[in-house]
């Protein structure tokens, strides 16, 4: 605690002195700015893993991998917590105090809350929310769990009326109490938003915020019927293929009101906002049309969407999935599922990203998590249970790489099928140092949040 308190003081003074917080960076580059972050060596990676029929105990589980090179257990799975059922385990996110990790099931709509602070090496299942759909008024498929002060902002993908893509943001307290449902704007009810282009589909996927601009952004994917369908069948169902999101919505962060709907055709998925205080923009990539899009504010304060680069050869549908921005806003990792490649784009000019590196990581590839300094990158393989490749190409792995700015070097890998675990999906970092603990063999540097939400100067 002393360490964290001290960091808060340092950050606050820095804001007073120069009016900006120039050192912010995290999973670490992709997480909420309201959250304490690991700025040194992470101790653990928590891998939210899909259970597979016929493998091990067949159920979803939170798997802990020891990733600290000085640990005797380095490179090993050191803990696994099974949660019951195959829920279509997908994404997870910490509360702002980083004491709890919320992990969702896109199928069952259950939310599993893990205690990661009592013993960061051994997360335990603290609470299960199994009435998310009823509480939220019919929202299905909780996706992103994003920390706001004292709150979890949860995006979703579907609904209980038609299992299509119209959906909402759902807000919970850190304690797991339902607070509010914020429906994504539709033509019938724009909820005060401006439809700036042709689309107001009401779909959802990811959420990110730029607190200093009082801005929140959501993207749009597809509903339960599509994300649960065999991917080969889906590609051949021309009716189902019409049901993908084509929008990014800019919301007012503090009031949670949708403000402007931007056209971003082709299923924009992950959103990553820039960290530098004068960088008022975010990136997203479209899964189907394979483009990088920039969501940016012009000098008049208006927000726009602009297609700024192709990812691979879009005609081949490389299917960009997870992306990760570097803490200095100069690089963007883009993973393409179909060819299993990690691609590094130079985004020094956000309007003209250029791919400068690529490496095949596996037969299929989805998620990346990089350390705050960008020197370590971890990759996992699974996209969705029924979208993953079939047969031998269905590799399921966790791979740890180092990045020297020029090349990725494999440090270790874990075969999640051989270990009888399942399909490896999303990763989050853990460290003793976040909780004032010291592991016997190392010290972890952490830093508290230093968010400029526009209020400091008022």
């Amino acid at each position: 605690m002393n360490r964290i308190n001290r960091s808060i003081v340092v950050s606050f003074l820095a804001v007073l002195a120069i009016g900006i917080s120039a050192t912010s960076s995290a999973d670490e580059t992709c997480m909420s700015p309201y959250m304490a972050k690991i700025v040194g060596q992470e101790d653990f990676v928590y891998v939210w893993t899909l259970g597979r029929e016929g493998l091990g105990d067949e159920q979803d589980k939170m798997v802990t991998v020891d990733v600290n090179p000085i640990s005797a257990q380095y490179g090993k799975v050191i803990n696994s917590v099974s949660v019951g059922g195959r829920n279509e385990a997908h994404h997870s996110g910490f509360t702002d105090d980083r004491k709890y990790l919320w992990a969702g099931g896109l199928d069952s709509s259950k939310i599993f809350i893990f205690d990661v602070h009592t013993d960061p090496a051994k997360p335990t299942l603290h609470k299960t929310i199994n009435n998310f759909v009823a509480k939220s008024g019919g929202v299905v498929g909780p996706h992103t769990f994003y920390a706001l002060p004292g709150r979890m902002m949860i995006t979703a993908l579907s609904n209980n009326a038609d299992h299509g893509g119209r959906t909402a943001l759902v807000e919970y307290s850190n304690q797991g109490e339902y607070i509010a449902t914020h429906w994504n704007p539709t033509d019938q009810d724009l909820r005060g938003a401006v439809k700036s282009g042709d689309y107001a589909d009401g779909y959802g996927y990811d959420v990110r915020v730029l607190p200093r601009r009082n801005a929140m952004f959501t993207s749009s994917f597809t509903g339960w019927s599509n994300y649960m369908m065999d991917f080969g069948t889906l590609l051949q169902d021309s009716e189902a293929m019409k049901r993908f999101g084509n929008t990014v919505v800019k919301w007012t962060l503090h009031s949670r009101k949708p403000e402007k709907i931007l056209d971003v055709p082709g299923a924009p998925l992950e959103i990553r906002c820039a960290w530098q205080p004068d960088h008022n923009y975010c990136f997203t990539t479209t899964a189907l049309t394979s483009k990088i899009w920039l969501i940016y504010e012009d000098d008049k304060g208006e927000w726009h969407s602009k297609e700024v680069a192709d990812i691979g050869d879009p005609s081949k549908i490389p299917l960009p999935v997870d992306i990760s921005i570097t803490s200095d806003d100069k690089g963007l990792w883009v993973q393409t599922f179909m060819d299993g490649k990690a691609r590094y784009f130079d985004i020094s000019d956000p309007f003209a990203p250029k791919q400068i590196y690529e490496k095949a990581i596996g037969s299929q590839l989805n998620m990346i998590s990089q350390s705050w300094d960008g020197k370590r990158a971890y990759f996992t393989s699974s996209l969705l249970k029924n979208w993953d490749k079939k047969g031998a190409a269905d590799e399921q792995f966790f791979k740890s790489y180092t990045w020297d700015g020029k090349d990725l070097k494999l440090e270790f890998e874990i075969d999640f099928k051989a270990e009888k675990l399942g399909s490896a999906h999303q990763m989050r970092f853990g460290a003793y140092g976040l909780y004032g603990m010291q592991r016997p063999d190392t010290t972890t540097q952490v830093e508290s949040p230093s968010v400029d939400d526009g209020l400091a100067s008022q």
Binding site: V133, D162, G164, W183, M228, L235, K390
Partner: protein, 415 residues
């Protein structure tokens, strides 16, 4: 008094006028780059409960009168109970699937948004979700006609591993018994606790109340309302019963019309799917106005093995029954796209083109299927006619479906 009753009638109509008889997520003209959304708000997805008991009991123009004993069995409390069960997502192994997740009210009580729906954990269902509308008059149930009573049919999806995947009959009964509200409703409706028979009967009673006839066609043919159909529609009707001989299977009688002969036929579509080579390249839509050509070999890397479908043969194992499927009624067909047993035709134009070409030639092709050589105008006339078969009270039934409470787990979080 007169003014007042007119006012009430208007109010009733107006209150339902916002009910869209199509998906709330409108994808019309999505193929074109000029596509614009026209999406409805889910928070505003409210309907209005209907007097289903009256609808179930009252004969509608164009449909045969139900047998006396069938009418006597209609019960207000059983319909209400069945409606609650039909929309209850808890009645599946992982609490995500109700009957209504595939038989969606505003989608013609079918699934407009997918060719073939998916079930438990996304498992494939190899056939299109048929409409529940007018199911009271169906003698054959399922596309392969393997079931003959609605109260029995209900149990197939409840137990099928690729639909609701409940572990057993007993597990479903215990699940329902565990809810005090259901115990009370079963007691009220049947004077019994839930069991295999009354669960089926309750859901069947709700389904049998979804009667939708008295269409413009019915008013024209059986109601002597000469102006009810346009010239184009009448031309389509003449083709339907004449040159195109659609009515040799989609039956129209002198007093009523079910638009089905309650039989099974082989049109060649199932044969074609089973026996012909799949194309090497497939056009995949990526966004409005954006498509890509994708090699089948690429699709196969992310596609599971598609289950074959031999139709009626799967029930009888008679070689002559290969690729036979039941004749669906065409009532309300405008609302129930996509079409055929596998949902492979996206619209009625494609269906007409298929039949005009004589289906798919092979040795088991039904003799009733032959090349019709309908020109484009004739095909469009028949399509226009088919769109006159939408029941006058469909909106009432859909509004009722929208008003039905959706059952989801309401337990507090586990500590």
């Amino acid at each position: 008094m007169v003014a007042s009753s007119i006012s009430n009638a208007e109010q009733k109509d107006n209150s339902l006028s916002h009910i869209r008889l199509a998906p709330g997520d409108d994808k019309t003209r999505y193929q074109q780059s000029s596509y614009k959304t026209n999406s409805l708000s889910l928070a505003m997805r409210r309907g209005q409960a209907a007097k289903l008991y009256e609808i179930a009991k009252t004969p509608q123009l164009g449909l045969p009168v139900l047998a006396k004993d069938a009418v006597e069995q209609i019960d207000r409390n059983k319909i209400e109970l069945g409606r609650k069960l039909f929309f209850d997502r808890r009645l599946s192994h992982n609490k995500t699937m109700s009957c209504a997740m595939c038989h969606i009210p505003e989608q013609g009580f079918s699934s407009n948004e997918v060719s073939r729906p998916i079930g438990f954990e996304g498992r494939a269902i190899k056939r299109n979700a048929p409409t529940i509308l007018n199911i009271a008059f169906a003698k054959l149930l399922f596309w392969d006609a393997r079931e003959n009573q609605l109260a029995q049919q209900v149990w197939s999806p409840l137990l099928a591993a690729n639909e609701m995947n409940n572990a057993s009959i007993g597990a479903v009964i215990d699940l329902i018994k565990g809810d005090p509200e259901y115990l009370s409703l079963f007691d009220k409706a049947f004077g019994q606790v839930p069991d295999m028979l009354n669960i089926g009967q309750a859901i069947a009673q709700y389904e049998r109340s979804l009667i939708a006839a008295n269409s413009r066609f019915d008013q024209w043919l059986y109601g002597n309302s000469e102006g009810a159909l346009s010239e184009q529609e009448i031309a389509g009707y003449q083709l339907f019963i004449g040159k195109a001989s659609c009515s040799s299977c989609h039956t129209i009688n002198s007093r009523d019309a079910l638009f089905t002969d309650q039989k099974l036929h082989n049109t060649g579509l199932g044969y074609s799917t089973s026996m012909t080579k799949i194309p090497d390249m497939i056009t995949v839509q990526l966004a409005p106005g954006v498509t890509a050509q994708v090699e089948q070999s690429v699709i196969q890397t992310v596609g599971g093995i598609k289950e074959n479908d031999l139709g009626r043969y799967e029930v009888t194992t008679k070689p002559s029954d290969r690729w036979k499927f039941k004749t669906p009624s065409l009532r309300n067909v405008e609302l129930t796209a996509p079409y055929m047993h596998d949902g492979s035709f996206k619209n009625l134009d494609d269906v007409l083109a298929f039949y005009s070409g004589g289906g798919v030639e092979h040795e088991l092709l039904s003799p009733l299927i032959r090349r019709l050589n309908l020109n484009k105008l004739e095909q469009s006339q028949i399509v226009s006619f088919l769109k006159t078969l939408t029941g006058s009270e469909v909106r009432t039934l859909v509004a009722d479906g929208l008003a039905a409470p959706i059952g989801d787990t309401i337990l507090e979080p586990d500590e």
